[in-house]
Symmetry: C2
Subunit: 218 residues, 2 copies
């Protein structure tokens, strides 16, 4: 005979309607979409619940409160970007190739998840970066500044100020995504996040930046 302990209901058919992981991810997806438009303070848990298909109470079942949900969204969005940036091994490359690689990766990440730009932008404006995973800035700007400094020293890049230039570079790459909704009229009838325009943006911003930093243009 089975004792009362057997009442544990942890073992569940994975295709059950009661699926912890799936629901949690659905909530995170909807939350990401909401936070990417409104930011933390402007987001409505009701709206997130509506998009998810579950009820508002479920959000509080999986996450302690709105802030914690927000932080989970931030971490999930940026974890991919971070790990990619860390695996680049840029030291093995000459500065020019290293910068091309870094830019390609960054632009690829943002093309892959166009909400990243808005999320980071809103986080900076509204919360002064309070909920940022701290490593992000160090990794992104840190590596870029290093590459730029190396290029200047080797005479491949012109005499630029690395920090200001790094900031301008990130801006040049990310603004297309952040300001999407305002830029539509420049490409009437076309999808700004479609494959073709994304490739064009990648190519054109890379061209602008590389031509902008090189001492001698090929």
């Amino acid at each position: 005979m089975m004792p009362a302990i057997d009442k544990q209901k942890t073992i569940k058919p994975p295709n059950s309607t009661r699926n912890s992981e799936a629901t949690k991810n659905q909530i995170l997806d909807a939350a990401e979409a909401e936070f990417a438009v409104t930011g933390l303070s402007g987001a409505r848990t009701e709206a997130i619940a509506a998009q998810t298909g579950v009820t508002k109470a479920m959000i509080y079942y999986y996450f302690q409160n709105k802030q914690e949900l927000y932080q989970a969204v931030l971490e999930r969005s940026l974890v991919g970007m971070l790990s990619m940036a860390e695996d680049l091994q840029l030291d093995c490359l000459d500065p020019d190739a290293a910068l091309v690689t870094l830019l390609t990766t960054m632009l690829h990440c943002m093309s892959d998840n166009p909400r990243i730009g808005s999320i980071l932008c809103l986080e900076a404006i509204q919360n002064k970066g309070k909920y940022y995973p701290k490593q992000l800035g160090n990794i992104l700007y840190g590596t870029m500044i290093e590459v730029l400094e190396r290029g200047i020293k080797l005479g491949v890049f012109r005499q630029l100020e690395p920090r200001h230039t790094a900031v301008s570079i990130v801006g040049a790459c990310s603004f297309y995504f952040t300001a999407q909704e305002n830029l539509k009229y420049l490409w009437p009838g076309r999808r700004l996040l479609g494959k073709e325009l994304l490739q064009n943006h990648t190519q054109e911003s890379m061209n602008l930046i590389m031509a902008g930093v090189r001492l001698v243009n090929n």
Copy 2:
């Protein structure tokens, strides 16, 4: 004899404590600061009132509702930028000088009112540009694209795609202001909106962009 129409109370001592124009401007100032951080939906009229020193009810005396106040703020912030952009007479200049002039003006406007960047960014992300003064995009991107096209035709600029490049240029110039709060750690102990760093940002982003578009660098 004077009829009832005479009851018009438009004539007021300008130094009265009840000063219509002054109060209205105070409200607009406080509203600008609030909207630049929270956007339209996130802004609290209570917070605006607190910053202004008058009561919440005054806001509704001068403005019909929050949307109208928001629109008034947008227009006031951008009207200066617009009129400057219109008076530039760029057609008289060669493309290189014209782009330098346009960038200088744009960077000067944003240095002058660093909130413009955030306001426009939030408006784009949150409201999809619904409350934009429509002329703005046309003037800013329109003139820049024209200048770029002229430069390509004359062989001064390289074979770039004008629209994508214009977007990247605006991003390179504005990101410093938008992401301010996240960039502090790059310049520890210094004021990002101080005269010196603003001049550096202007110079460095101009250098990057001009080197990035020119066919032959001097």
